[in-house]
Assembly symmetry: D2
Homo-oligomer: 398 residues x 4
Amino acid sequence: MSNLQFEQQYQGRALDRASIGSRYRDVRAQSERLCAPLETEDYCVQTATFASPPKWHLAHTAWFFETLLLKPYLEGYREYRPLFATLFNSYYDTIGTYHPRPERGMLSRPTVKEVYEYRAYIDEHMARLLDDIGHPDHADIVMRTILGMNHEQQHQELFLTDLKYAFAYNPLKPAYAELPQPDPTTAASLKWLSFEGGVVSIGHQGEAFCYDNETPRHKTYLEGFRLASRPVTNSEFIEFIEDGGYRNPDFWLSDAWKIVCREGWRTPLYWQREDGGWNYMTLAGMRPLDPGAPVCHVSYFEAAAYARWANKRLPTEAEWEWASKGAPVKGNFVDDGYLQPVAGPQSEGLQQMFGDVWEWTQSPYVPYPGYHQAHGPLGEYNGKRFCSAASLANRMAS
Amino acid sequence: MSNLQFEQQYQGRALDRASIGSRYRDVRAQSERLCAPLETEDYCVQTATFASPPKWHLAHTAWFFETLLLKPYLEGYREYRPLFATLFNSYYDTIGTYHPRPERGMLSRPTVKEVYEYRAYIDEHMARLLDDIGHPDHADIVMRTILGMNHEQQHQELFLTDLKYAFAYNPLKPAYAELPQPDPTTAASLKWLSFEGGVVSIGHQGEAFCYDNETPRHKTYLEGFRLASRPVTNSEFIEFIEDGGYRNPDFWLSDAWKIVCREGWRTPLYWQREDGGWNYMTLAGMRPLDPGAPVCHVSYFEAAAYARWANKRLPTEAEWEWASKGAPVKGNFVDDGYLQPVAGPQSEGLQQMFGDVWEWTQSPYVPYPGYHQAHGPLGEYNGKRFCSAASLANRMAS
Amino acid sequence: MSNLQFEQQYQGRALDRASIGSRYRDVRAQSERLCAPLETEDYCVQTATFASPPKWHLAHTAWFFETLLLKPYLEGYREYRPLFATLFNSYYDTIGTYHPRPERGMLSRPTVKEVYEYRAYIDEHMARLLDDIGHPDHADIVMRTILGMNHEQQHQELFLTDLKYAFAYNPLKPAYAELPQPDPTTAASLKWLSFEGGVVSIGHQGEAFCYDNETPRHKTYLEGFRLASRPVTNSEFIEFIEDGGYRNPDFWLSDAWKIVCREGWRTPLYWQREDGGWNYMTLAGMRPLDPGAPVCHVSYFEAAAYARWANKRLPTEAEWEWASKGAPVKGNFVDDGYLQPVAGPQSEGLQQMFGDVWEWTQSPYVPYPGYHQAHGPLGEYNGKRFCSAASLANRMAS
Amino acid sequence: MSNLQFEQQYQGRALDRASIGSRYRDVRAQSERLCAPLETEDYCVQTATFASPPKWHLAHTAWFFETLLLKPYLEGYREYRPLFATLFNSYYDTIGTYHPRPERGMLSRPTVKEVYEYRAYIDEHMARLLDDIGHPDHADIVMRTILGMNHEQQHQELFLTDLKYAFAYNPLKPAYAELPQPDPTTAASLKWLSFEGGVVSIGHQGEAFCYDNETPRHKTYLEGFRLASRPVTNSEFIEFIEDGGYRNPDFWLSDAWKIVCREGWRTPLYWQREDGGWNYMTLAGMRPLDPGAPVCHVSYFEAAAYARWANKRLPTEAEWEWASKGAPVKGNFVDDGYLQPVAGPQSEGLQQMFGDVWEWTQSPYVPYPGYHQAHGPLGEYNGKRFCSAASLANRMAS
């Protein structure tokens, strides 16, 4: 799943500033619409230190608007409840202390109802702030509101993945919703598409919203390369498993092999072999594995091992970004209602560059040349995370 | 708080077997009455590995009746839901596997409503089983039902202490209920009561219910000793703190001192010094410390350090039990509605031996001479825990 | 192995105070004689947090005399090297800070040679102090010196067990020394000896040295009991293993079963099944298991599980101590040179109460009634450890 | 310190193959010469999981020749001692199992003497193998021997840094050797040197030895940049400290700040503030900090925080490598005997690119475009580590 699923509505053109208020309401309503199928209990649960309870996502995204917009810009604004500043700060050291992340699921209060009241209070004041088009800081307010909406969409995506994790953890394997089930599919045959090298420009271009870590646009040099026409599929990944992929250290990075051995990895997360066939957890509960769909929820370590096993390599981020140039931003997004990757079309050219799955690249998560990290909380948003983690793509290159 | 708070109704006489059905309903209803003030969210939260969510307590106590009574004795009984056998088994290895204790708070399903439905199903079938007084195993059924009711009362007590822990953890310090607040009290002056030594008999006597770890009645030898007329109070414990009690290794056991240093202990759990005074967490939220009430929620290590500081010692379990002989089983129990220890009466003789607080002794938790541990789950109930933990009492002896 | 192996020379009569100097030299020389077979490298190694390097034992025992005798009593004494006060303090909080126990093997300096020089310096000054029989504190000096010698003998025993642990850890399985190897033995047949109950007195009696935790002599009540005539043997323990003893939770305490599962226990420490037979690590390297010798290096958990499997129980400490009354203090001690338990004699009555093996009892390590813990370091020696650990004995009772 | 310190002798020209035997002896003798000042005890000590005992370095480097040369290529070669294959394998999964890295210091055997005997045995057989210039695999043998020599030089460097760590850990702060102490120095004033951008080629060029991770030579694009004329000095780093650098989260990466808080970082490793001045640990023991010398033993996190504080950034690896082109490979190397960075010369142009210190860059440790990882142990040497760690450089760029 990709946050592109959510951001598409603002892609390709600058936001019409007059309509910011209604956009704001749309995004906020989407968060609550996604929560509609939940039981109250589901709002509270945290099953991993890297995941957060739905209730926390709802409150944190409200806190974001309160902290970065209402407090500095809305005259006479009265903080909703002082302790929320700590409870719903995620990781902003320059703002203040925050509740420990692994313990977000240990708070029964505020209740779900109280969190919705908090959101309503924020929304009411945000409406007042956005309506004030004569505000001396109106441009900044709009810019920060757009950031806040994108931030909330990121949390909508986190909400869905965290929820899947929580439901997969539960032996009862609950379903989030009745979802359409595609018939078992066959993927398009994999083709290798060639790209010429040379000095190319990558990074954000145009007036649409982007995060600071997508800037600045800059030049880089690429050798000619080939890129797979579509992501690796579930049925291809089964071949890797059946060829002993999880048992041969030669395919794995050193740090990876330690984890494979220590935790007994034998399949991707969520997969279960039953009666000779394969099932996996979806947001509609356990279902038969779809052979033609892109493999999903594999770690960087698994993606890299697969590529080495296949005598290929993962693309670099620059290759992926360059190749994606001009590809239309369309695909299987959240609005399509599958909430699961599906097999792509049998067409020519690069497929499924958008929608369906995040893709691992071999490139670490580091700043683009010339990146400038602001001081204060806006700089913390992305800048302080520029360390260690790999970027995303499990499409192969060679 | 003591499970004596709950057991009193069955103390002093054998249970009238004909009335077992109505007793069963009373105990079960008490669990649900105690939960009445909760929000749905409160049912789900687990803030320590040693604590359990209220929802889990409700389901586990139902599981106990299902597993030890309905499955073996009720003909044609159909298990409510197979996975519950694992989810709500606490620690019975001879019955089967169980969900990891530290992860009881990670299950949003079954919902609270579903747990109440589970309880209703069990109650309906238990009623049928208890009504069948011609059942060939009726005596066993009554015996196990009495155990199950006492088991449920233990969990009622755990429910209240776990809930206090969860609410104290929450920075919002929610209140479980509006509780009567006693005026600040002064405890009766402490007197030292003398007891003659000799060979005495301790252990359960009579026909009323007891746990197997209270058997058998046996002889033991006691030197003459003196016992404090009442437990140590909060104001006495403040003297220990103000005399540097938490900073002097000479008072502490070796294992204790490591924890004091590593975790920075400076006061009992739940205490906060504010503006020169002391407050502590109660089930009614933060309140001023009551100087005359018995000190509560101190660990064995703190009780032992206090006694060494005071040039006294904790009593042995045998001394405490012998001294309690004949003391009337009355005091501040759950039904009194304080849900908090209060100062005892200004009377002669031993006070507050029942109600108010569990008391630490210096005796480890080991079997009485002649104790027999049954095989199977009933033996696991207590027998396999006979290791390492100290018994309870923070009254001093000398 | 037992520290009785070393203490026997002082048992049964008060130490002749005039000869304290020569006794001191004997004990000190014994420590160094035991180290004679070591390579320099062996002096430095620590393979568990609960073990210490031989070099550390040698230095710590010197530190004990320096700290408790030379510094307070020898006029003009000049501390050997100030940092040693921290490096070789084991756990005396009332004296000062100490180097972390798990990191005793991380110090290459002082070298072994320097530690021997330290010991020589201490010995030279101790000789001077002990010779001064007119010293106003001579009685205290003798008392503390006797404690120091017994302390050093305890460390001689720790030295041998720590060394066995270190050599067993090493895949090369080095031998400490060429030791006599007894032929495979058959133990005497096990008989059950009866003891009458009643009020008995236990605890140290007489003028010989004892530790403070063996005091005071006091009365206790015992029911009549039977005690096995000899410890459990290796061949008897094999029956437990072959009957699935390590796989059945019903035999194990709750805390034990968690460890059995987590660490995959299947045999006692040091045992290896090879080619159908059993070998174990000894101080002479790997050797065939002697079927008739007492089983050794089993934990309390294993001893308790064995007893439950055998439908017996471990004796209490009071039973063991009472039964041992009058038994002659003779057996297989360190001077016999086996450094390993051997089968006992085929005689009547209780056998092997001394020598060969420490024996688990079911009694926790708690103070005798009336025990007084001194303040300061002498009180820390034993008093602060009175918590949690079980006492010793793997002889069965019933 | 840099492995360039050791490799210089082979830089700039292809190794004369006829003289490989004498080069081999030189490198091997250097390892033993570096160990000459050690006590036997120093050979055994491991003070961190990332460090190894000197004895292990000596044995592992012998194992490398035995495993990659003698076993596959020397006819009739008899393995020195089978268990060494496990004990001295560092991390080669495709070769076999290996002793756990954090427990390398827990092996007292083989002794130091035995390790030297092992080395002599390997050397004797290596001499025989290298002399056989008619061997059908002679070219491979020479290639692998050159790799083995460079490998051993890497371990010589690790030996010195591990030893410093071990001696700094020891409260006695032992000195490895009497080393020349430079007078307090003043660094040359810092200048910013400009480099033009464009498509440049980096990666190894020429016939001299290089590691596979320095290949292949490839093109990359650089914007114009400026590079500091010399590394950051100790006195500059003091400014950062005194300006609150370690207390302001705004300067630190997210992962860094967690460590700074958890471990209480306040200075670089080895620094101590005493009496208003600064000292640090050197291989000659504690010494006054040299203000003009490059700051050393700072982590990537500290280097990055410093750069952000200074409103600069760390260079990328490509910038550093491109700037270093043509700089003569000279500087303060191990043969100069300081074993410590010193202030550079007061000359024009880039200084101290070689010798003195490893330098942090902002670039993660990832393969060059086109890198090919061999299968088997030679591929494991570097290829499987291409994950997560940052490259080296604490020179600033802007």
